[in-house]
Symmetry: C2
Subunit: 389 residues, 2 copies
């Protein structure tokens, strides 16, 4: 399913997924049979023009969305901007955007930029994640929440947050960066307004793979695209001077001309998901995570779990605090166990059942435990090696 270097235990699929085995042949076919051969005709003959929609529908199927409500393109930062801007337009008298201080910073940065552009007295509130629910009031225009915390894996109850937001007339933007491909999620059941996410983590679309945006069908007639490029126009090839958003269709959230090479890699990665049940992925992820935590706590003194202990409160990665976490992670990586480190002292491990099993977890903990027993970072040879990641 994936081509992973021999002997590597890759516990970082929450950051960048590994390469699907079919990626090289798929991209070669795109280059030779599409770009080389069809050239500009490929926009029609090879469906390049509607690939953002075709891929959007496939991602939609992983989150309970009906066809025609999701498109792929741009970056998650751009899609967050679009979604929040659209939400603000729906509540013209409100001036509060509510998020939390566990959100991934680019979401907050993009909203800061949006607030500056609007220049109309908007405020971005970032309370602690556990205080978000109580701060959902009728002042709030948009609630912008990343379901799973990129650091400690704490998971919000999106259904509850969305219900409360709707009860006070607020719109919700759900960032699924660490949800899509990891959790069974359902935008229809939760009555989601907007969802956005990236495809290079659990979906394995490749470094910098395109983002996606979902808009509830009930909003598609009126939603403001904000970033109104020609791919969002009702008739892009009429080349009208004035913008008319595609009526009633998710196409209105498309912007400019997207990389078809990037789309091709994502398409190949999505083929894998055709045969995957996300409930199975989730239960396997919990099994592996529980085993990992119990083994680390039994064998790796000094590491403290900072992810929620209740698996239902976690996403699909696990984080530990450790004072020598940086050096420890360098040593792990040097020995082929790939996690990552977040300053000042957090070690993160992604648990991705599509390519990680119990045996991998057991081996990873053995390597970790040996490193801790050796206190490898106290040895001069550790510092003589080039271990930059």
């Amino acid at each position: 399913m994936f081509d992973i270097p021999e002997g590597m235990i890759y516990l970082n699929g929450n950051s960048l997924g590994p390469m699907p085995k079919e990626a090289p042949s798929a991209i070669n076919a795109f280059l030779i049979d599409e770009w080389r051969t069809e050239l500009v005709k490929g926009w029609n003959t090879k469906n390049w023009f509607i690939k953002s929609n075709l891929l959007g529908d496939r991602i939609g199927s992983l989150m309970g969305a009906i066809n025609g409500t999701t498109v792929v393109g741009d970056t998650l930062s751009i899609k967050v901007f679009q979604a929040v801007a659209a939400g603000l337009a729906m509540a013209p008298k409100r001036r509060v955007i509510l998020s939390d201080n566990g959100n991934f910073p680019t979401d907050l940065y993009m909203v800061e930029g949006l607030i500056n552009l609007r220049n109309a007295g908007y405020t971005l509130r970032t309370p602690n994640p556990e205080d978000v629910y109580s701060q959902i009031t009728d002042e709030v225009a948009v609630l912008m929440i990343t379901e799973v915390d990129y650091r400690n894996s704490r998971k919000h109850d999106m259904k509850a947050l969305i219900a409360k937001a709707h009860s006070v007339g607020a719109t919700v933007v759900w960032d699924m960066a660490h949800s899509i491909g990891a959790l069974p999620i359902d935008v229809t059941d939760t009555n989601t307004d907007f969802a956005v996410g990236c495809t290079y983590k659990y979906l394995n679309g490749g470094p910098g793979a395109p983002a996606f945006i979902y808009v509830a069908p009930r909003l598609l007639d009126t939603v403001e695209p904000a970033l109104s490029g020609w791919f969002a126009h009702e008739a892009p090839f009429a080349f009208d001077l004035g913008f008319r958003p595609m009526p009633g269709k998710i196409d209105r959230m498309r912007i400019g001309t997207q990389s078809i090479a990037a789309f091709t890699l994502l398409e190949t990665a999505l083929d894998i998901w055709d045969d995957v049940n996300l409930y199975d992925v989730r239960s396997k992820s919990i099994e592996l995570s529980e085993f990992f935590i119990s083994q680390v706590e039994a064998k790796c003194q000094g590491l403290t779990l900072i992810s929620p202990r209740d698996p239902n409160q976690r996403g699909s990665h696990v984080a530990f605090q450790f004072e020598n976490g940086y050096e420890c992670m360098q040593a792990l990586i040097a020995q082929g166990v790939i996690g990552d480190f977040r300053a000042p002292d957090v070690m993160r491990f992604g648990i991705t059942p599509l390519f990680i099993n119990l045996d991998d977890i057991e081996k990873a903990v053995t390597v970790l435990s040996n490193i801790l027993n050796d206190k490898i970072w106290n040895k001069p040879e550790f510092h003589n090696r080039s271990l930059v990641t």
Copy 2:
């Protein structure tokens, strides 16, 4: 240099450039040696994190920009938005954005969206191209101009427009979509404020290849990113809650995580330009275009040149009006001569000296002339064929 199907005469490099011969091996090396092998470490070990800058500098060298003033990423629509928003921030009391009705529509659409977001009484003016110069007044905050008209190839005098704009305190956004790789351009000599462009036309980066943005060095300390993603932050990996734009560097115009596959294809395409002199490209393009026009006018009755007759007033494509232009273009394409058609009656032909020579032009005119003599669209077999492009 390029892999073009045998027998095809490709006169559409102004829309989508052909595939460089090295593209398949380059992308395969990226997949196998970078994504597969390095996985998340590639952001450092393979320079993914700074590739937007490395490629930006290489594009900068094609337009007289010094290193550190150009970055690659996103789409041209997004980069237009960023540049115009930044220009508006520099003239907070002015309320006019001046463009023209020959601009490519997505530029106008993005500005329309920006005006809606700002909601502060801005006006977009789109006079005829020949009236732009006289409409540059001290009301104008930003002059947004695409140098070469995508339809008829008419070329603005950017140096004169920029000088006049500066004399009244306006900022200029120069869209180089049909300039970069086709014309010797110089952002330094012209004292350009902002330049943006795409890389899938004359630069041959592939369908939907990333865009670029240039910002004058004198503006880099203060320019507002507008779309302020984490790649623009002074310290992206500090994960601060507040946005601090990278001081004094073009990095502040980066936004989110970009497709490294798309960057790899562009990198390969840019290798070709290392050995190319743009003055030579331009003089060869003029020679080929003059020959094409003279041959069409001598041999192809019914076609009327709508591009400027003076080659110094044209970009690198040539357009003719013809009442049966649609059918004629279908017939040309069916016979391997690829141009394109713009409603209602315009036939466009891109003249790209890197892969088109006098012999190609002569053959193309012969095919065109035969189609016209035959009035092929009056024959039943023409309509029985599938000729959709």
